[in-house]
């Protein structure tokens, strides 16, 4: 019983991070039609910034996280302007540019932090909260979970309750139609890219004290984010969140009771099945012809 509960707690934390990554990826793909391969590297940059601000410069943890979030957002805006906007009619070009950026960011991380052992980011919140006897969540994880969830709620509110959010979703639905209605595609693209990048940066920033901060940390994360994105439906933000939760629980339980490699393998197969049965994902609505 304790194991099941503890596994649920573990899965809940994983869900939040998967959701942050996947929603960002969905925003970028939905609005710009570009698969951002460098998304995992934005996450890496977020983590490195927290290492630098919090662990090296000794800023307060939350300030460091906020700074990382803002800086990665700015990187996202710059990416939109310099790398993606000129490639708007050439999704493959956008993809290749993001791969180019991925290489560049990895090398810069090596140059800044070196290789060898992971960067040391001590937890800001020590100890753990014992929910039940034998069921515990580390305080650092709890804080990360709360912030990630809060950010997701903010994004959800922004997208569904504000005019700009509505415009953004309209562009994601149908770019040409939205442009005809007078929506400024350039501004919306920057917004989507900034938000998407910021969320990836935030995920990296929050997870920095909990994972290996190293130049190649984005690699495994992007694969998970792809799976979640596909299962959720590429155009669907709520689908991404739902899929993140489902996938996190699935992966965590299979890992706990069986094996992590099997969990990833099954995850990929499930994604394949979803693609075959319903290519638009569990929550996707757009019909592709």
């Amino acid at each position: 019983m304790e194991i099941i509960l503890q596994t649920c707690v573990n899965a809940l934390v994983a869900s939040a991070f998967f959701a942050l990554m996947a929603v960002g990826l969905v925003l970028i793909f939905g609005v710009m039609g570009i698969i951002n391969f460098a998304h995992g590297e934005l996450y890496m940059v977020g983590a490195y910034l927290v290492w630098y601000f919090y662990a090296s410069l000794r800023w307060p943890f939350l300030v460091a996280v906020l700074a990382a979030f803002l800086i990665v957002t700015v990187i996202g805006l710059l990416m939109e302007r310099t790398l993606f906007r000129p490639m708007r009619d050439n999704p493959l070009g956008g993809l290749i540019n993001s791969i180019g950026l991925l290489f560049i960011l990895q090398v810069l991380a090596v140059q800044v932090g070196g290789v060898g052992l992971m960067k040391n980011v001590p937890p800001a919140y020590r100890g753990s909260l014992e929910l039940l006897p034998g069921v515990a969540i580390g305080n650092q994880r709890l804080v990360a979970l709360v912030i990630a969830a809060a950010l997701l709620v903010c994004i959800w509110y922004f997208l569904t309750r504000t005019k700009v959010g509505w415009a953004l979703r309209a562009v994601a639905q149908d770019r040409d139609a939205a442009a005809l209605q007078g929506i400024n595609i350039d501004r919306i693209s920057m917004l989507a890219m900034g938000l998407g990048a910021g969320m990836a940066g935030m995920a990296g920033a929050l997870i920095a004290p909990l994972t290996r901060v190293e130049p190649y940390m984005g690699h495994g994360v992007i694969i998970t984010a792809f799976i979640v994105t596909i299962v959720g439906g590429i155009g669907s933000l709520s689908g991404a969140v739902l899929a993140a939760v489902l996938y996190a629980f699935f992966h965590t339980f299979v890992t706990t009771y069986w094996n992590g490699t099997i969990a990833t393998m099954l995850g990929l197969l499930i994604m394949l099945v979803v693609l075959i049965v319903k290519p638009t994902g569990i929550m996707g609505t757009r019909v592709s012809e």
């Binding site: 391969f37 050439n90 070009g93 290749i96 180019g100 950026l101 090596v110 990929l268 197969l269 394949l272």
Partner: protein, 342 residues
């Protein structure tokens, strides 16, 4: 028409150059040439796929399937390497045929990601099932081919020069087949599917069948490339065929330019040679690579193969020749996802 006249002599010149090449190279460069030839086959077969308008992320895994297939047949089933290599290629083609049922229910981005999932699942199974795949360490001591020529004695195919020629012959024949295929009616239909699948269907083209056909044939040659690779280096492991390798193939193909047969070949040759030249830079190498990629997207949207045309256009412009034609050439939309024939 001038180009057609030049084609034969320049092909002959290229052949002579390729045959003479190993004698002008250092030992480790001969090995580099073997790898390069293998990758040339990989990217060229990838282009056949791209001809139908689909980009897959499973190609390198299928190359691995060819390597594993051939290696296991040679090591466990005792096949002669000469038989094992084509059988390995058939294994890759067979897997592709099976995959084509689920995968071609999708297209575009969905196909890209679906093929990625299928590939990773296959690759993870190699690391998970130690028997017979050898787990993460893969397979070692894969035999090299044996051939005894009367009068010459056994040919040492484990040496770089003989293996270079073997690879050159096999890759050369494969490229010829791929080229013929592309310029046959089948290539025409594949190209038509890429441009307007519904229109092709409306005149009786079974698009699923042709997409699958392109996928299976491309995978056959990818598998053959994998087999060639593993019987020289003597080993096959899952890490060699991971996403990183796939990303490089994608880069070579796209930076080279997918619009022409020679494009991906130019891409892999130029970028690999540059990569070797930057060896001194060691850890900065990937960064240089990244910058080249982005620069290519901006300044060479039709790929490296478009470079001579661009230079010519630029020179003409400088000479003040009426810019009507050249201007048009330069302004052509950057449609990378559009393989054109020839």
């Amino acid at each position: 028409m001038k180009a057609a006249k030049l084609a034969i002599p320049s092909l002959v010149a290229l052949a002579v150059f390729m045959v003479a090449l190993p004698f002008g190279l250092k030992l480790h460069q001969q090995d580099f040439m073997i790898s390069l030839l293998v990758w040339v086959l990989v990217v060229s077969s990838y282009r056949l796929m791209a001809l139908t308008g689909e980009y897959s992320l499973v190609h390198v895994v299928l190359m691995g399937a060819g390597a594993y297939g051939s290696a296991l047949l040679a090591k466990l089933a005792g096949f002669s390497v000469w038989l094992a290599m084509p059988c390995g290629a058939l294994v890759a083609a067979g897997i592709a045929a099976l995959l084509s049922f689920p995968l071609f229910r999708m297209s575009g981005f969905y196909f890209l990601i679906g093929s990625f999932a299928a590939g990773e699942a296959i690759r993870l199974s190699w690391t998970y099932f130690t028997v017979p795949f050898g787990g993460p360490k893969g397979i070692k001591l894969i035999p090299s081919p044996e051939l005894t020529l009367p009068g010459l004695g056994p040919i040492p195919f484990f040496e770089p020069i003989p293996y270079y020629y073997l690879t050159l012959i096999i890759v050369g024949i494969s490229l010829f087949i791929l080229y013929r295929l592309e310029n046959s009616r089948i290539g025409l239909i594949m190209n038509a599917i890429h441009w307007r699948a519904p229109l092709a269907e409306s005149v009786g083209v079974d698009t699923w069948r042709y997409r699958a056909l392109a996928f299976v044939i491309a995978s056959f040659f990818a598998g053959l490339a994998g087999a060639l690779f593993c019987h020289y280096y003597g080993t096959a492991n899952p890490a060699q065929f991971d996403v990183a390798a796939m990303v490089y193939v994608l880069i070579w193909v796209i930076v080279g330019g997918v619009s022409r047969f020679a494009g991906p070949i130019v891409g892999v040759v130029v970028l690999s040679v540059l990569n070797e030249l930057f060896r001194e830079a060691e850890q900065w190498r990937p960064l240089i690579y990244g910058c080249i990629l982005i620069a290519a997207m901006f300044y060479l949207p039709d790929g490296l193969v478009g470079l001579p045309g661009r230079i010519r256009a630029w020179l003409d412009g400088r000479r003040g020749v009426a810019a009507a034609e050249t201007g048009e050439a330069a302004e052509e939309p950057a449609d990378l996802a559009s393989p054109r024939r020839r």
